[in-house]
Structures are given as structure tokens and as C-alpha cells.
């Protein structure tokens, strides 16, 4: 698995979430995702970007175009230096919410991609990485 290209963008405001959606869409098109694949990845990105802005107090999105043999994909990493998630397992269950959402952000995003990983330390921040193949 190799990284073909990489970029970073800031996530501070709700306009940044819209920009992140548009950028992720462009990357998915460049990696030849079909329409449903694009939509799933962009929706997952929207959920996670909102988490970063709303609960993480802002942060950063790292985009990577991946290649593994004949298939290509996009990997996204959302990082913040916010309060962190005390119970990751609980946060991943449907309907769990710490704020005003529906509680579908993390669990929903996980269902929309091929690989999902989360690293969170209370008081230090949260990193969520998702990957989807075209």
C-alpha cells in the first residue's frame, strides 16, 4: 500500500466542513470512485469533520490518495486537540451522543467506509482515520 499524494486542510468553522466535503469529493473522483462510493465517502467525511469542529474545538484533515496493487482509494485522518472521548466503544454505538447530534456521526461514518480506526486520549485529543477503496 503506497501513498500517491497527500494534502492537509484546516477545520475550524462550519464553512470549513463544506470545503472539506468538496475537497474529499474531488479526491474521490480523481481516484475513480463511482457515484455511490463518492457519496458515502463525502458523507462520512462530513460527519467526522463536524465532530472535529463541534466537539474537538477545531483541528485538521489530512487527505491521502492510496494505491494497493490494482485498486486505489482515499484515506482521511481527522485530528483535534480537544477533550478526547472517555469511552470510545460507547461513542461508537448507534444513538450515542454527547451533544446535539443524532449520535450517528462516528458509527455512521464507520459503516460508510472500508477501514476505520480511532485513537483518543482524554485531555489530549482525538484522531479518526477512515479509508475507502474505489
Amino acid at each position: 500500500m503506497i501513498v500517491k499524494r497527500e494534502a492537509r486542510m484546516q477545520l475550524r468553522t462550519s464553512e470549513d466542513i463544506v470545503r472539506a466535503r468538496q475537497t474529499v469529493r474531488e479526491w474521490c473522483i480523481a481516484e475513480k470512485f463511482n457515484l455511490v462510493g463518492q457519496t458515502k465517502m463525502v458523507t462520512a467525511a462530513s460527519e467526522l469533520a463536524r465532530n472535529t469542529v463541534e466537539y474537538g474545538g477545531g483541528g485538521e484533515l489530512q487527505l491521502e490518495a492510496m494505491e494497493d496493487g490494482a485498486r486505489s482509494g482515499v484515506r482521511l485522518t481527522f485530528s483535534d486537540k480537544g477533550p478526547g472521548i472517555p469511552n470510545v466503544e460507547l461513542a461508537l454505538t448507534d444513538g450515542y451522543t454527547s451533544g446535539k447530534g443524532l449520535g450517528l456521526g462516528l458509527s455512521g461514518a464507520k459503516r460508510l467506509c472500508d477501514q476505520f480506526s480511532i485513537k483518543s486520549v482524554v485531555g489530549q485529543g482525538t484522531d479518526v482515520t477512515i479509508l475507502r477503496w474505489s
Binding site: E15, I17, T39, K40, T43, S46, L104, G105, G108
Partner: protein, 128 residues
């Protein structure tokens, strides 16, 4: 400040969302629509989302809220024109919006609303 326009047509309010909304804009639309329903004494709301290439949980929740609010205000809501890729993604996300009426396009949406309003009027009459 940018806003999504709300058109009044007879007893209906029509909203066509043509841009990728950020969260505050979605909240503004929800507030504006609620105020307009009361002000215009609208019987129904039609929301056209055929131009949207994405509906995430935030926008999905806004749509569900609008449907619930209109019901409280004695009106009906129909959402029309959701794209296949968006529908598949919403289902995968776990958001099936059970309380929301849907239709394939604006024509069908208006038919549906007219039928619902007629049904309700008949019920009201029977109750009198």
C-alpha cells in the same frame, strides 16, 4: 446574510435547496420555514432536494425536524427528488427518516400533498 428562498404558492410553501448548505444555513432555513408556515397559514411544505449530492445526518435531522414541526402546526411536509446515491448513503448511515413523506418529483409531491390535505379536510368535516 445568505438564505434559502421560500416561495408561497396558494396553500403551499416551496423550498428548493440548490447549494451545499453549511450547518448554520440549515438551521436558518428551519427557523424561517417555521415562521413562514405560521405567517402564511400554509397547509403544506414541499422541499425539493434533487440538486443535493449529499445529505448527512445534520441535514437529515433538519428535514425530520421540519416534518415534525409542520405536523405540530397542522401542516404537511413532503421531500421530493432525493438522488439514489444519497438515499443509499442515508440508509447505510442509519437515517431512514420514518416520519417524512417522500415523492419522486415536484409533480408527485404536490399530488401527494393535495390528497393529504383533502383527506384531512374530510376528517375535520366528519368531526364537526
Amino acid at each position: 446574510m445568505e438564505r434559502i428562498p421560500i416561495l408561497k404558492l396558494r396553500d403551499f410553501l416551496l423550498v428548493s435547496i440548490q447549494i451545499d448548505m453549511h450547518d448554520r444555513l440549515a438551521m436558518t432555513l428551519q427557523d424561517d420555514l417555521t415562521a413562514e408556515i405560521v405567517k402564511q397559514r400554509a397547509k403544506a411544505v414541499l422541499i425539493d432536494i434533487s440538486a443535493l449530492d449529499l445529505v448527512d445526518s445534520f441535514i437529515g435531522r433538519m428535514i425530520s425536524n421540519i416534518a415534525a414541526i409542520t405536523r405540530v402546526l397542522d401542516a404537511e411536509t413532503v421531500v421530493v427528488g432525493m438522488r439514489p446515491a444519497v438515499a443509499i448513503t442515508l440508509v447505510e448511515l442509519g437515517l431512514t427518516m420514518p416520519g417524512v413523506r417522500t415523492a419522486l418529483n415536484v409533480d408527485r409531491g404536490i399530488e401527494l400533498l393535495e390528497a393529504a390535505i383533502a383527506r384531512r379536510d374530510a376528517q375535520d368535516e366528519a368531526a364537526e
